[in-house]
Amino acid sequence: MMKYAVSTPTFDGPFELLLHLILKEEVDIHEVSLSNIVTAYLDEVAKMQTIDLDLATEFLLIAATLIELKTRRLLPGKDDGDLDDELALWEERDLLLVRLLDCKTFKDVATVFSDLVSRADLSFPRMAGPEERFASLMPDLLEGVSPLRVQRAFMRATAPKTPKVIGLEHVAPIRASVAEAIITVAEQIRQAGHTTFRNIVDGITDKIEIVVRFLAILELYKQGRVELEQLRRFGDIEVVWLGVDDESIAIDNYEG
């Protein structure tokens, strides 16, 4: 049973982590190395042992983009011939860049808010209200309030908070297909016994589909069904089936 953790102690989200790593990298060596960043990022993600899948998905989506960027850079000049792939990557990268800039912007705003709050905290408002001689003039707070309304207010105040129903729109479709992808990918790896990430996504052109398969493999890895290995620093990811044949694949409830 995975624990339900809301965030990692240090980083509140994938953009924050990535932003931190990139800016730190620059300070350290004045020369940004994407592979250092990817390694550091994946290290951080790996440390998130107790993370819930919701949040893990957000981190891994970014990881997938980073890895793809890294892969692309390692094969300069190699002509895949697939312009759509190329454009999709550029698009993904631009999106990531915008998100990072947003993240930086609002982190800076938050610092100013924090200063404002600290300053405001030095003053205390007068809230004493009218003196008792005006009490008889004050409109009745409970005017028109029935005992039933008091009961309803109590129910409202003590009701368990309703299950979350919004806010997952942006990831829901992806997660839904990860569940399916786990089955197909597991079958593919089981049959091959030993394959590579490149093979698994061979022939797939839809960017999201590739990410989904990447996530599925990571999930299988987490479940102990496959072993992942990157033999060469920039090599393809080797995937080895470890699972027992008759074991059924546990699929997490991606719908939440």
């Binding site: 049973m1 809230m127 004493a128 001689r133 005017e143 008091v150 009961q151 109590f154 299950p163």
Partner: protein, 202 residues
Amino acid sequence: MNQEESNLDPESVRALEAILMVAMEPVAPALLAQLLEISQATVEALCERLAATYEAAGHGFQLVKVAGGFRFQSHPELAPYVERFVLDGQQARVSSAALETLAIIAYKQPLSRSQVASIRGVDPEAVMRTLQARGYITEVQRDDGPGQAVLFGTTPLFLERLGIASLEDLPSIADFIPDASVVETLERSLRVVPEDPMSPEQ
């Protein structure tokens, strides 16, 4: 600051003004003396001179001694304006927050402010002060526990305003309190990972 005012120790005077400005009720000279680290006699003297200064300057507020403590209040000469303001009703919005707090106290009394806070998830201090000022809730006793927290309950006025004779006339909540299993089910439905016996993590 005029000649008379500047004869007073400025720091103590300013601190007095600041504390009395944010106080919700009259502040005893003993407490002021302790906070300012000056003698009670000095507090009394400073407050009296301050009150005289305000009066001489023709301010719309006063510093007065009531119920054994000092407080700021509106000047009686401006009462017509204050009455208009009070009648305007801006002060009397029954927010849903206020009603919820009142409902919790009505059903769970006696209970402390921190107990209300733990149910509402926010510090109800301001709301409870308003309810107390309106005479709907009052301090009923002190907790036996180490902190001796003040416990609050509703007043006869509260019952009167609701048009009921006793607390027993409030609609019952017993049927509606979600039992443990309901809460658990809700919690489980919020979990991302189901407790699946097939899962290798078990």
